[in-house]
Symmetry: C2
Subunit: 116 residues, 2 copies
DNA sequence: ACAAGTACGGCTGAATTTATCCGTACCGGG
DNA sequence: CCCGGTACGGATAAATTCAGCCGTACTTGT
C-alpha cells in the first residue's frame, strides 16, 4: 500500500508468520479491543488516545488485508463502520492473552529493567 | 545504546511490555535457539544465515540488557562465549511456543494472504 | 451558513530498526 | 607470513514504521 517491501519476508518459521501479522505498534491492542467489543474506528481511537488516528487507520487496514479483521460499512446515515474478528483472527486470542499475561506477570521486573 | 529513544515507551499494558523485549527481527528466534542449546554467537549466526552478524550481536546485547539472556565469557584460549536463558527469559518459552504454534497451525492460509 | 461528528487517505518528515562496510584483537595451522 | 576462525563494535546507509498536517465528503444540529 503505503510502502512496497524491498526485502522479502521470511516465512520459514511460525514465529515470523505471527510477527508478520501482529507486529505493529497498536495491532495487538486493536485485535484485543475488537475482541472486547470495541468495534468502531472512533471508539477505538478514543480508547487509545496515544495513537494517532492515521496510524490506527493504517494498521486496521493491514489487519483486514491479512484476514484478521473484517470490516463492514453500514449504508445507513449517518455513516457507520464496524470491525469484527474473522475466524482466523479469533484464533489469535489465546496467543495474545498468553503474551499479555506474561507482561502483567513480570511487570515489576520489566519496568525496572526497561526504564534503566 | 546505538540509538536513544525520543518517544517514551508505553508500558501501560502487558502486550507492550512483552513487545518491548521480544520485538526485533530475530529476537524470538535467538531466545528459542538458546533454549534449544545453540549458545554460542558463531553457532547462532550459522543457524540463521539470513541475519547479518552485526544485527545478531546487537539484538543479543539488548536481550542481555533486558535480562532475558545472560552472557558468559570463558577466559580460555581460544575465546569462547556462551549465552544462557535467565530465569526471566525461561518464563518466555511458553509464550513463544504458543505464538510459534499459532504460526505453524495457520501456515497455509497465512502464506496465501501474505504473499498476495 | 457554520460547527461538529462520522470516516478515508495523500503527502511529508521524524523516528527507529535493520543492513553493509570496515577495522580491531587474539589464536592456531600451513 | 598469511589465512581462517573466534568475538566486538564504530560509522553510516538503507529500509521501514510511525506521526502530523491537511483536505475530502457526507449528515445532523444550531
Amino acid at each position: 500500500m503505503t510502502y512496497q517491501k524491498k526485502i522479502p519476508v521470511s516465512l520459514d518459521c511460525g514465529l515470523h508468520l505471527f510477527m508478520e501479522v501482529v507486529n505493529g505498534k497498536w495491532k495487538a491492542n486493536l485485535i484485543w479491543s475488537v475482541y472486547s467489543g470495541i468495534k468502531r474506528p472512533g471508539e477505538l481511537q478514543r480508547n487509545m488516545p496515544k495513537a494517532s488516528r492515521r496510524v490506527l487507520d493504517t494498521q486496521l487496514k493491514q489487519l483486514v488485508q491479512h484476514g484478521i479483521l473484517s470490516k463492514t460499512t453500514y449504508d445507513e446515515l449517518p455513516f457507520k463502520v464496524e470491525y469484527e474478528l474473522t475466524s482466523l483472527g479469533a484464533t489469535l486470542i489465546p496467543a495474545i492473552t498468553c503474551i499479555a499475561q506474561w507482561g502483567e506477570d513480570h511487570r515489576l521486573e520489566l519496568e525496572k529493567i526497561i526504564t534503566a
